[in-house]
């Protein structure tokens, strides 16, 4: 019942991109100042995660229901994170 329509994306090529990005994030964490590193490193992580989700997990070829199932948790994650920030952080800093 697998949808046969799409051609296989270049899995091995993506793998090498992932490895290069990983090396880059390790490099960044050592080169860049520690306060400034997290945004870069996490952006790289997000790029990698997007590559895996889109190609390895075939989200690029899925219908809207499956994409919704993948996106709703991220929205929930964001809601929890941002709604909790004003409550948890100031008290932890004391």
């Amino acid at each position: 019942m697998q949808k046969q329509g799409h051609r296989h994306p270049p899995y091995v090529g993506i793998y090498f991109i992932l490895l290069v990005l990983t090396a880059a994030s390790i490099l960044v964490s050592f080169v860049v100042h520690r306060e400034a590193a997290p945004p870069f490193v996490f952006t790289l992580s997000t790029v990698k995660a997007a590559l895996i989700a889109l190609f390895y997990m075939h989200l690029k070829y899925e219908g809207r229901y499956v994409i919704a199932l993948a996106l709703i948790p991220l929205i929930v994650f964001a809601v929890v994170l941002f709604a909790l920030m004003p409550d948890i952080i100031p008290y932890q800093k004391m």
Binding site: Q2, L18, L19, T22, I26, S29, Y65, L81, Q92
Partner: protein, 197 residues
């Protein structure tokens, strides 16, 4: 799902039910994954909240071993590649190659867990126990849960390998792979959170 009920389902499915773009096995698996994303996401969210407010996080994170964890990242990514190649071959009908690639993925899982084990024992040996401080409790909590997921993923893949001897189902290979990729993505965030920054 071996009784005759399932077979009735399979035959009748297309004829009697409203058409739906996704096969039900994969849809159900994505529903499950959707929940899993939030379980690990919730843990990571808590970690981020404490990370942003806990000044000594970076200090503690320098004690974790970047080399070992980089090797582990490599192992997981390779497992992802072999899992997706297994699925590709399954779609193309080359079932002996599927077995090979699934075997490699399971091997990657076992390697990851062994390396993690060595890492844990070194850290505990040096006195970094979970109750030491905020960083270490999150470190053990999250990597522990993640490790359990890797273990589960390995078992799923081994189970699919055994299952394939009887039935050649593309869905089974794909779902096992999906789980593996999901665990991999989670690691991509854990790695910088605890090792790099």
């Amino acid at each position: 799902m071996s009784s005759s009920e399932t077979r009735v389902e399979e035959i009748e499915h297309k004829e009697y039910y409203e058409s739906f773009s996704v096969p039900f096995q994969r849809f159900g698996f994505w529903v499950f994954l959707s929940g899993e994303i939030i379980i690990l996401g919730g843990l990571v969210a808590a970690a981020i909240l404490f990370r942003l407010s806990y000044p000594n996080w970076f200090e503690s994170s320098t004690y974790t071993n970047v080399i070992i964890s980089s090797i582990n990242t490599f192992v997981l990514l390779t497992g992802s590649l072999t899992a997706v190649l297994a699925h590709k071959n399954a779609v193309d009908g080359k079932w002996d190659k599927v077995q090979l690639f699934l075997g490699l993925t399971a091997l990657a899982g076992l390697t990851f867990i062994s390396i993690k084990f060595i890492e844990y024992s070194r850290e505990i040996h040096h006195g970094f126990v979970p109750s030491k401080d905020v960083f270490w409790m999150f470190y053990y909590g999250i990597t522990g849960i993640h490790g359990a997921h890797v273990l589960a993923g390995t078992f799923i893949i081994l189970g699919v390998m055994l299952f394939l001897k009887k039935k050649k189902l593309v869905e089974a290979v794909e779902n096992a792979g999906l789980y593996w990729h999901f665990v991999d993505i989670v690691w991509l965030y854990i790695f910088p959170l605890f090792y790099l920054t």
